[in-house]
């Protein structure tokens, strides 16, 4: 989960628009919607002007003039269109630690952007005002891929981050922006729920340099009731990313009473170790009441510490506690000598001791991408 609340808001965001920071070439909202519309990838045509979307496991069958569940892809006369290419509704310069990615270029900033739309409906979503909205309901600015790359360079960001909402639903824009970024020497990272079909994942996230997946629970019932999705396709995506060799970190948002049992933590940790390996960073993060789950309390820190203890005991090497500023488990420790290697204060990496991808004290290799 990647909060919008902080970070340097740029002129193209609908959250805050200081005129002085407005990038040239960015134009407002609905004056020319045609600029945002491209034929979608990942769908098949059906009789009677219907289509079946093949982007995510939901496989929406969409009639003429209707949209898929994500709200940003529309059937117009039997052809499916993305309505959000270059339609950026939020853009910030964020520390990469805020994604969070702790083992990928620590201490750097990511030019972070989103369009409207999401293919699930998490009852705790903190960005629901954009993720659960249709694109025409959210102020946006035309920001084509080349402009995204220029802005990343302008703000001294080595990466473009596709985040806040669900990047899978703007896959066409993501791919073009990643290509433009790579041509300019800018890498791409994606913060996703992993609810995407394998072919789309390979084509879209195959262009990414690092991936963070929100694994929201380890039970199908939670995915059904709280997320409006399914667990298995997300696990499949994690395995595919592993096979693709993408640097991947996992975030698990802990909700009191809903996904915080010892058995679930243990099952999750065992699955990660068995299928992805012990070196995959796993972040247990604190829930704050939002959206449709304002009745739940903030996750108690001891619950997060219990989750971490279980995952540590199962043999995972890099288990973090997130959204708890100042907690020592935000730091990176060498799994061999246990010395602190990266100290973090808030979203800032205040000290980074890793040298040549190794612990400077015992020479243990530390997995990740540590330097630009």
């Amino acid at each position: 989960m990647c909060a919008l609340a902080s970070g340097a808001a740029l002129g193209i965001t609908g959250v805050a628009q200081p005129a002085a920071a407005s990038p040239s070439g960015a134009a407002s909202g609905s004056e020319d919607d045609a600029r945002y519309i491209v034929e979608a990838k990942f769908y098949q045509k059906l009789p009677n002007r219907k289509i079946k979307c093949k982007l995510c496991p939901r496989e929406c069958a969409v009639g003429d003039k209707e949209r898929g569940y994500c709200g940003v892809r529309e059937n117009r006369g039997g052809t499916y269109y993305s309505l959000v290419h270059s339609r950026v509704c939020a853009a910030h310069v964020d520390p990469v630690e805020k994604k969070p990615l702790f083992h990928y270029l620590p201490g750097t900033n990511a030019f972070s952007l989103a369009t409207a739309g999401c293919n699930v409906n998490c009852k705790f979503c903190q960005n629901w005002d954009i993720s659960q909205s249709r694109p025409e309901e959210v102020p946006a600015h035309y920001t084509p891929p080349q402009r995204v790359a220029e802005l990343a360079r302008q703000y001294d960001c080595p990466t473009i981050a596709y985040t806040y909402s669900e990047p899978a639903v703007f896959a066409e824009f993501l791919m073009d922006a990643a290509d433009a970024g790579h041509a300019a020497g800018i890498r791409s990272i994606v913060v996703s729920n992993g609810y995407i079909q394998e072919d789309a994942l390979k084509e879209a996230y195959g262009r990414m340099d690092a991936v963070k997946i929100d694994l929201k629970s380890f039970t199908e019932s939670y995915y059904s009731k709280v997320v409006t999705g399914q667990l298995k396709p997300v696990l499949d995506s994690l395995i595919t990313l592993r096979k693709l060799g993408k640097w991947t970190e996992i975030v698990y948002l802990v909700l009191p009473t809903l996904n915080d049992s010892d058995a679930e933590f243990r099952g999750l940790a065992q699955w990660v170790k068995a299928n992805l390996g012990a070196d995959v960073p796993l972040h247990f993060t604190q829930f704050h009441p939002e959206y449709l789950l304002k009745n739940l309390p903030i996750t108690p820190v001891p619950t997060l510490e219990r989750a971490k203890a279980i995952a540590d005991a199962e043999g995972l090497h890099f288990v973090y506690i997130g959204n708890v500023p100042g907690h020592p488990s935000q730091n990176t420790y060498c799994p061999k000598c246990r010395k602190m290697l990266v100290e973090r204060v808030g979203f800032t990496a205040s000290e980074m001791l890793i040298r040549k991808n190794c612990c400077p004290f015992c020479q243990q290799p530390i997995p990740g991408v540590w330097h630009v």
Binding site: S30, N48, R49, K50, R58, C60, A61, G63, D64, K65, E66, R67, G68, Y69, C70, G71, N121, K123, Q132, S133, R134, E136, E137, T228, Y291, L292
Partner: protein
């Protein structure tokens, strides 16, 4: 027009007896008997008004015949001899009235302009200021494509989409639904008159009265899984909707029995009818049966056989929702 004004309730009930049966004959007779005797009791009344000559010799709906059709329906529903008396049973001077039309399908299968004009005329006669009437849907462009002229400000009847008014900032939630509501609904309408069209829907089975409220929220795309069940029923439970909803006038001048919600002329028919009720569940059930009959006539499978029967209608009627009646035994269908 004047003829309709001068018709008494008994006149048009008598006329209806000689009209072509819109629904099954036995049910209609029973319903008429109930309506005339005033013995409907707890039953929900759905008025099915039909005029075979609604289009005259052309394809366009004749506005005077439409007004007469609306009058017949309203007089039957409210058991009044004059149209204005019927409308005064519905609204009071000083109230603001929103007409939620349906314009998703474009000009071929959107709420009929003459129908909306007739409603506006009678509302004003009942004492509603023209500027206190707003014709609305989700999107202004869709309204225009359906033939409506946008009107914002001044003393005219207002007409615009939620794109011009915006959505509330606070979520409205009930059951499975959490949505932002149109400010046209919450801030411009004390009274909601639902004016949907009668259509097949590829996912929901049918889209008539209850589902037309999808056009009042910011995230309808989230509520299409599982045939829109229980989302349609839950949405209509929102106090902002339920507390305002007083009447549904379903436009079945042109209806669709297959291929909806987008316009498919090859799957449309001129039903030349209106369905009118204060019970949206009973109206939806009645409309659904009309579509099933047309499907059978065309040799198509039932919606249930296609695994898209509109199960949300029963949910809307269940003990948790109680939005109306879906039991045919509790629905009086009055044909006029």
């Amino acid at each position: 027009m004047n003829t309709a004004h001068n018709n008494s309730r008994r006149d048009f009930l008598r006329q209806s007896l000689s009209g072509a049966a819109l629904l099954c004959a036995s049910g209609a007779t029973e319903a008429l008997a109930s309506a005339e005797s005033g013995a409907a009791g707890a039953k929900s009344m759905v008025v099915a008004a039909r005029d075979e000559q609604l289009r005259g010799v052309g394809t366009n709906v004749d506005s005077s015949r439409m007004l007469a059709l609306v009058d017949r329906a309203m007089q039957a529903l409210f058991d009044r001899d004059r149209p204005v008396e019927a409308w005064r049973r519905l609204v009071r001077p000083g109230e603001t009235v929103g007409l939620k039309v349906n314009t998703l399908g474009g000009r071929g299968i959107s709420t009929n302009l003459q129908l909306v004009a007739a409603i506006c005329e009678r509302l004003q006669e009942a004492g509603i200021k023209s500027s206190d009437i707003v014709i609305w849907d989700r999107d202004s462009n869709e309204l225009e494509r359906a033939g409506f002229h946008l009107a914002i400000g001044g003393e005219r009847v207002q007409c615009f989409g939620t794109d011009r008014a915006g959505y509330e900032q606070e979520l409205a939630a009930w059951g499975s639904v959490g949505s932002l509501l149109s400010k046209i609904l919450t801030q411009r309408s004390n009274v909601l008159i639902n004016v949907p069209v009668l259509k097949d829907h590829d996912g929901a089975g049918v889209t008539i009265a209850l589902k037309n409220m999808y056009g009042a929220i910011h995230n309808p795309n989230k509520y299409h899984p599982n045939g829109c069940n229980p989302y349609v029923a839950d949405l209509n439970m929102l106090p902002e909707i339920r507390g305002r909803m007083r009447l549904t006038i379903c436009d079945a001048t042109t209806a669709m029995y297959e291929g909806g919600p987008g316009y498919k002329p090859e799957h449309s028919w001129n039903a030349n009818s209106l369905l009118v009720s204060t019970d949206p569940v009973a109206l939806d059930h009645t409309g659904w049966q009309m579509i099933e009959r047309k499907r059978a006539e065309k040799g198509l499978k039932t919606l249930a056989a296609e695994e898209r029967a509109p199960s949300y209608i029963a949910t809307a009627a269940d003990a948790e929702h109680r939005l109306g009646n879906n039991d045919p035994k509790k629905i009086s269908i009055v044909e006029v």
